[in-house]
Symmetry: D2
């Protein structure tokens, strides 16, 4: 397939690479052009602008950091949305607000373009291994059309609705549950540690019984060690997603006190200088408030 | 093994049954004697008092509702602890306070008896199927001695320390993480429902990807249906465990705001008349505060 | 003084009236022009546009609902900021974001205009009685120049800094403390009522002893009656201020869990259909969660 | 009046002194007898036991630290309740649980003694100055009988019901509102400080306008200075009251999330080694989580 790919960050780069490997023809664009260079030798075209990237695409994939970045690419003067031809599909993989996703759906519809939200779960290593979980919403025929793309980048695709923003709601809800897990684990580990017990034995029990899920293993390890690197997902990005979640909740009047607690943790973590850490570092605030010094 | 078994509630009865089936000799006691009757035909002796039950036991297992019940059996005048012979081991399976577990450890030690805390995870159906997870702490040689008992009632045993109360801390921490999961799921489902999405599709995604753990499947189903029966674990019992957790946290000065949120949910659920529901009904408060009427 | 006054809502109208009474020459503008009519007979000029209002003013006062309204008046094409002459002062009374206040300070500075933030505390009846509390920040000589205006509309003026946005921070912090008071009172009244005691006797004690402050009397009465009218300050406006507070807190990395709790209350209140009530209705959620039906 | 006075701590001593000054005949008892010595020269009798103190009293006043202390004095073998003659009244000034107050009411009733709960608000200096606020509940004729005592120790008496435990509920609710005020002020001051503003100017505004109440002045000063001495009310005693409040709330199923937040603050403060500070030090946690180092 003729694919335009915009956004070559920690997640975008390995995803684009997998698409090239699978035989798709990619024209890639990244604001910092040097990030695109490694793909050139693999056969990708490097576009100088979003417009140039989008011009001949059957599918335009965006994988960008936030609403602002997507708006800049899609809606700024001389933007990708004008260059995209009618009948082409925009596959939005970025974690963006539900509101922006809705706006994109409408803008594409007006131009007789298609729009599918295909959010992804998984950290950069999962992206590289094509082990992402892909959560998709949009018109069924478009999802069918894009299915080969999803299969190339992920291990499993979940269709959650025909209205594209549905996938963004699910993405935010999923990320919220990850932060809820981090918060729960952190509080529990603080308790276990201050009772003089071994947090690793505790974690082994959890992941060997009721909580035998990847999220508990991945974040549990970081939390047990009280070490929040290597950074799979930077704390301020996680905070951004928490903000988007609270906005999506406010929009439909759903109070989410646990999400508010997580919000407070993000703010505290930034106040403690943890902006460069993995987002699991929100758990460190529990340790600090419990007077724990460092993990043993 | 010659086993005294005290406490034949929803959990105790199937556990005792499995021990009998495995060939152990059981003398059982239950305050409401009629609950013991079904075991008589299977070959169990029915004791009229805790003392009678404990008298000849190599191992005394208690599986009771709360601290008060354990204290009544073990420490009340003419109690089991005096009847238990030196060298015998008390295997405490009840979810009790860390403080009482510590008191039991000391009292048994004084009498040259042994004490092992062997808390269990799983609902009554898991107990019947001998699929419990057993979390054990105590002296290694006692744990070895009791291992056949643990293997009879559970699918997996986790040793978390040599100091018996450790198992009680882990039990409370584990139950806390279940409530944290319930709270997180409930808030997320409220969000998903009010955005007009299908909560079952959401749940399918969760349990088919990052949250592929029993806890998410079991409680997710109840929460998606907004139906909190059949009752595996009654709400007031869950509240009791939350109280024990907060007490254990206070004892070592660990603030647990998520546990406090869960506390508030239990109180609200009782105020809404949900005392007979499964403890997952704490999630119903999220639906109510979001103005959701009933699941569709 | 030659005063342009923009924004004749529940607060703006009585303030403008008091300024006219004190002998100032007012040119007023309101988007819905009919709201300005009653002032015409008192001698005010009615301007057709913000530009027309601002053109000859020595002081331009804005008293608008939110950031958006202030931006529309000040920064939209053909806006008031271009019409205001150099040396004139913009007195911003609206409760706006700290960020917008900062932006206004800079924009006025570039045009050699002056900018003073003069936020006000008090409900419409206090505005009518010229009993507002005025919290002011800006250059000392400008504050001196505007002092007669402040004295006309308020009972007391507090100068909190030379940097105008300081007054906006204080305004948001003050409103936060009002919501904290409402939340505290509501929880306490729920407790008192469910213990079968008289909430009015409780309130009498509070306001007759340690909490003898206007806020406790005003909101206490509403909360004791569980009646949230007449509406002095509409719930969604209070929610807006809560959002501005959380944004101001996020900007400098200050976690405010009590503000987050209040946020959740606002969302719940909207979910319960309380958008038309006074903002004290966030306290009704405490009653509802406690299973209280109606006050007696 | 012939008064037995038990409990000569920070509050009891100045109260007893004022009663002596007013001409009442006091027989005093304190566990640590040396605390009673200074009263001897003023004409008080020193009793060797609670029983001896209570024997001839018309009114028995207890002013003790907690439930345990009151139980020890009143219900322990050879206790005061047996020594108190029929028709005498027990005036309980201690901050105790609603449950213990109810138990006392019943026990006195059985013995044809009377029982009045007369809880007090104010710190030791207010006790010395006879400026306490006295919150009373009990049978009207008993309250009338004790009125001279209340007037001697306080500046104002509030009768809140005929059922004695009512005064204990109100006491706990009042103390809760003080902690709510501390928490609100601390969060607001953290915000103000991190915006580079002067917290003292902020406080001056608050106490000079909407929050012109003693509580804001007293605790505001400590919080603005981030100094939690001199200690008027020790942090662990405040924590005890928070626990009693949460128990009273649980008893009637009232969720109090703000009280839970305060609970978490107490736990965190103890984890940070603030057990010797005034209870206003729970506000220090807000500063710490905001990354504030020390007040300027």
């Amino acid at each position: 397939m003729n694919v335009a790919f915009i956004g070559l960050g920690n997640m975008g780069l390995p995803i684009a690479r997998n698409l090239i490997r699978a035989g798709h023809t990619l024209t890639v664009y990244n604001r910092t052009r040097s990030r695109a260079a490694p793909l050139e030798s693999s056969g990708a075209q490097i576009a100088a602008t979003p417009v140039e990237a989008a011009a001949n695409a059957e599918a335009l994939i965006t994988m960008l950091a936030d609403d602002r970045a997507v708006e800049a690419v899609m809606f700024a003067p001389g933007n990708a949305i004008q260059a995209l031809r009618a009948g082409a599909v925009h596959v939005s993989m970025s974690t963006i607000s539900v509101a922006l996703s809705r706006r994109l759906a409408e803008a594409h519809h007006e131009r007789r373009q298609h729009y599918v939200a295909a959010t992804v779960f998984g950290r950069p290593d999962a992206a590289a291994a094509a082990k992402l979980f892909v959560v998709v919403a949009g018109a069924p025929e478009q999802i069918r059309f894009c299915q080969p793309l999803f299969e190339t980048v992920g291990q499993k695709t979940f269709v959650v609705g025909e209205d594209a923003p549905a996938a963004n709601v699910i993405k935010l809800a999923g990320n919220f549950l990850i932060t809820a897990t981090i918060e729960g684990l952190a509080e529990a580990i603080a308790l276990v540690r201050k009772h003089g017990l071994d947090q690793n034995a505790f974690l082994e029990f959890l992941t060997g019984s009721l909580f035998s899920a990847p999220v508990y293993r991945n974040y549990g390890g970081m939390l047990a060690a009280d070490k929040f690197e290597p950074v799979g997902f930077k704390l301020p990005l996680g905070f951004k997603d928490n903000r988007l979640l609270l906005a999506a909740a406010e929009e439909v009047a759903v109070p989410m006190p646990l999400a508010s607690l997580v919000h407070d943790r993000f703010v505290a973590a930034l106040a403690q200088g943890l902006a460069e850490a993995d987002w699991a570092a929100i758990g460190h605030i529990s340790y600090q408030n419990a007077g724990l010094k460092e993990a043993t």
